[in-house]
Amino acid sequence: MHLDHTDTIHPERHSASAARPDGSRRALRVGLGGPVGSGKTATVAALCRTLRDRLSLAVVTNDIYTREDAAFLLREAVLPPERITAVETGACPHTAIRDDISANLEAVEDLEEDIGPLDVVLVESGGDNLTATFSKGLVDVQIFVIDVAGGDDIPRKGGPGVTTADLLVVNKTDLAPYVGSDLAGMARDAQEQRGELPVLFQSLRGEPGVGPVADWVREQLSAWTATAVLPA
C-alpha cells in the first residue's frame, strides 16, 4: 500500500459522459467566465443563496494566484465548506477551463463522489480576458459575466465569450448612471453579436437581483434532466 493511501474510491472517467459510475445522472455543470471584477464570484454567491434550499449545489473556483474566491465563498458561508473546491491554474486561468481541463474535471467529479448526488456544479473561471470560454468537455452550459463599468463597448467588441456563451449577463446595472454607460446600446450591440442567445441585465445591489439568472439555471437543469442520455 502506498504512503498516502486513502480508502475513498473515485472511479475515473475521461469524458463528459452524462452518467456517473453507478449509472445515475451526474450534475449539470455550469461555467461562469468573464473579465476580472465583473462580478462572477458575487453572482455565484447569490446563486447559491437563491438555489441552495431546493437544489444540491457545489462550486469549483479557479483562482489565478490565491484562494481569494474560494475564501470569499467560505467566509460568506454560501455553502458548507465541503461543497467548495479551489483549483490552481498556474497563472493561466483559460488553460485550466479550455485547453487542459483535467484538474477541473477531477474537482467536479470528486465533489460529486464525496458529497453524493448533486443537481448543479458551478465552475467559476478565474478573471480573464474576452476570449476565454469553457471547454464543452468540462461544462454543459456557460454564462459570461461582464459589467457596465468595464466599458459599454464590450458587447460591440464581441469575442468568443460575449458572442457564444449560452447566457450573457451584464452586471452592475445600478452603476450605469455613474459611469455613463448606455444600457440600451449595450442591449442592442449584444443582440447583434448573439442573435437568439439570451442576455440578462443584473444588479445584485437591488432589484431584480440574481433572480432572472437563477431562473435561467433552473431552466437549464430541467432541460438537462429531461434530455441527458444515460447509457442503457
Binding site: H2, D4, T6, I9, E12, G90, D100, S102, E106
Partner: protein
C-alpha cells in the same frame, strides 16, 4: 516505435495538467536562486540529474513491463516530501485520464482501478508510453525532457524571462537530457529496489514551504 507518438506524449500541450506546476522553480525564484537564464540552466541541470534521472528510470521500468504497483511504492520511497507525493499522484491521475482517452489499454484501466487517486506520474508516464507502443528508452526520454521542460516554461511566466533564452537553455541541455535518458534505460532492467534514487533535498524542502504559501502562481 512511432516518433510522432513520442513527440505527442512529450509535448507540453498534451493536456495532462502540467501547466499548473513549476517543478520547484517558483520557490527557487522567490529564494533568489533562479533569476536569469544562467541560473535557470543550473537549476534545470541539477533537476535533470537528480529528480529527472529517478523519474526517467521509473518511467523506463514501467514501460519495460515492471509491476506498476511495485514501482509506485518505489516512487513513494524516493519522494520524502508529502507535498511532492501529492503532486506526483495528482499529475499521475491527470495523465491517466488523458492517456485512457488517447491510448486506451486494459493495463491503464487496471492501474487506474488500483490507484484511483493517482499513481506517481513517472510510473503512469511509463505505462502510458507502453500503451502507446513506445519502448523503455522512449519513456525515459519523455520523462527526462519533461523534468526540465516544465521548469523552463514556468520560469518564463515567473520572471518575465525572454522565452527565447529559456528555450535556448533547454537546447543547451539536450545532450545531457539524452544521456540521462540512456542511463535511466540502462538501469530499468534492474530489480525495483536497485533503480536510481538520486534526489535533490532542496527541492523536497522548498516544495513543503511552497505548499504553505497563500499567494502563488503554480500549484507546486
Amino acid at each position: 516505435m512511432s516518433v510522432a507518438t513520442l513527440l505527442l506524449l512529450a509535448d507540453g500541450r498534451f493536456p495532462a495538467g502540467g501547466h499548473a506546476h513549476s517543478g520547484g522553480v517558483e520557490a527557487a525564484v522567490r529564494a533568489g536562486r533562479v533569476q536569469d537564464a544562467a541560473s535557470l540552466e543550473e537549476f534545470c541541470r541539477s533537476r535533470l540529474h537528480t529528480a529527472g534521472l529517478t523519474s526517467a528510470a521509473l518511467a523506463s521500468a514501467a514501460a519495460a513491463g515492471h509491476d506498476p504497483l511495485a514501482l509506485d511504492e518505489a516512487a513513494d520511497a524516493r519522494t520524502p516530501s508529502p507535498a511532492l507525493r501529492r503532486t506526483a499522484r495528482r499529475l499521475g491521475r491527470q495523465l491517466m485520464r488523458a492517456a485512457r482517452a488517447t491510448w486506451p489499454d486494459p493495463e491503464l484501466d487496471a492501474l487506474a482501478a488500483a490507484r484511483p487517486k493517482g499513481a506517481h506520474q513517472p510510473v503512469v508516464l511509463g505505462l502510458v508510453a507502453r500503451s502507446a507502443g513506445l519502448g523503455p528508452l522512449e519513456a525515459a526520454h519523455a520523462a527526462a525532457y519533461e523534468s526540465v521542460g516544465g521548469a523552463a516554461t514556468a520560469a518564463v511566466r515567473l520572471l518575465g524571462l525572454d522565452p527565447l533564452d529559456a528555450t535556448a537553455v533547454l537546447a543547451r541541455l539536450a545532450a545531457e537530457t539524452d544521456e540521462v535518458a540512456r542511463q535511466a534505460e540502462a538501469a530499468s532492467s534492474k530489480a525495483v529496489e536497485d533503480l536510481p534514487a538520486a534526489s535533490a533535498p532542496l527541492l523536497e524542502i522548498t516544495a513543503e514551504q511552497h505548499a504553505t504559501w497563500s499567494v502563488r502562481l503554480f500549484a507546486s
